[in-house]
């Protein structure tokens, strides 16, 4: 996969999007990503183990994330854990996806969808 244009990877799948959001505020290991996504979505999205690591592998291949050698206090950490952080290209892709979603939200707001008045105001 090329890293020339972030738009080529859009739209992101919900799982990849939330994983990038989880990594946006710092590096994390697999379990940290799983936990953060669950907390961010108030338990609505739980990434199963196989899907999590399959996504990590594909995101590494797409240069959205990278493995980092930096670790927290070794006494508090298990050396078998692998840590990941978002790459500059991953940040570009995330920004592009947020802009895309923002445009869609603006479109929804501009429409008068029957039965959605209250939800529309909440948006």
């Amino acid at each position: 996969m090329t890293d020339d244009s972030p738009d080529q990877l859009l739209p992101l799948s919900p799982i990849v999007f939330h994983m990038l959001i989880a990594l946006a505020d710092g590096e994390k290991h697999g379990y940290g990503i799983m936990k953060t996504v669950e907390e961010d979505t108030y338990g609505e999205m739980r990434i199963p183990l196989g899907t999590l690591y399959g996504s990590i592998k594909r995101m590494l291949a797409a240069n959205l994330i990278e493995e980092t050698e930096a670790r927290p206090d070794p006494a508090l950490d298990d050396e078998r854990r692998r840590y990941y952080r978002i790459t500059p290209f991953g940040q570009q892709v995330l920004r592009a996806e947020i802009m895309r979603l923002d445009k869609q939200l603006a479109l929804v707001r501009s429409k008068h969808i029957p039965g959605w008045a209250d939800q529309g105001r909440a948006l």
Partner: protein, 268 residues
Amino acid sequence: MNKHDHSHSISLVVRLIRSILALYPAEFRAAYEQDMLLTFQTRCFELRSNGDSTGLICFFLTTGFDVLGQAAREQMESVVRSPVRGRLIGSLAWMLGGLLWALLHTPIANTWLAIPVPALILLIIGLVGISTFKPSRLTSAALLITGLGLTNYLLGYLAAQMNHIDAARVLTITGIILEVGGIFVLAYSLFFKATQPQAWQSSLLLHSIVSLIDAVWQLMPLAARDVLYSPIYPVGVAILGVMVGIGWMVTGALRWRSATRRTVVIVG
């Protein structure tokens, strides 16, 4: 459930997940298996500390099914990336197709020529595909094909014991075809590509022994009852076993001569 029971159940589910992770391709396992197990274990301990036994069971089941699906996906991706693996699976699929065709369409007759031509074509294409492998893989492929043939023999024997003579006949015919295919691949490896004499010699020995056991096994119902199905099949298998056994002895002798000559040269 007390703390000890929880620890026991967690170690059990971790072992189960570890065994399912074995379905992933080797390169994926090398990169992520330890981390995956650690993540799974951490989550289990977290659920345990919350006293959520139901959650633990749900998490295990969800993870198990998810890992099964993802392992299949990774294997598929691995096949696409690896031409050799793709060719192996493709060739075996041709052969399996030929086998199924033969099993479903072979008329009940006492002749090997009764195998439908399309089934033979499928089997031959599969064999040709396999014969393009490297020597190190050829022996394994030959054993795999032979194993498939021997399974047919076993099923044929069971069918004969249950007096399903027609089914026994078809299974035996296809079993022989596969075993001949296995020998063909092995011979191809031996005469044209072999670089690992130890590997193919042990394969030949195994092949010969199993063929002879097969032949005896098939002759048993013939001896015990009236002729259940034509003795030509077990006799054919016995001849194959003897021929391969002779091949094993000849190749052993050649190896011994070769080793002796090399020793003489080194000593001289």
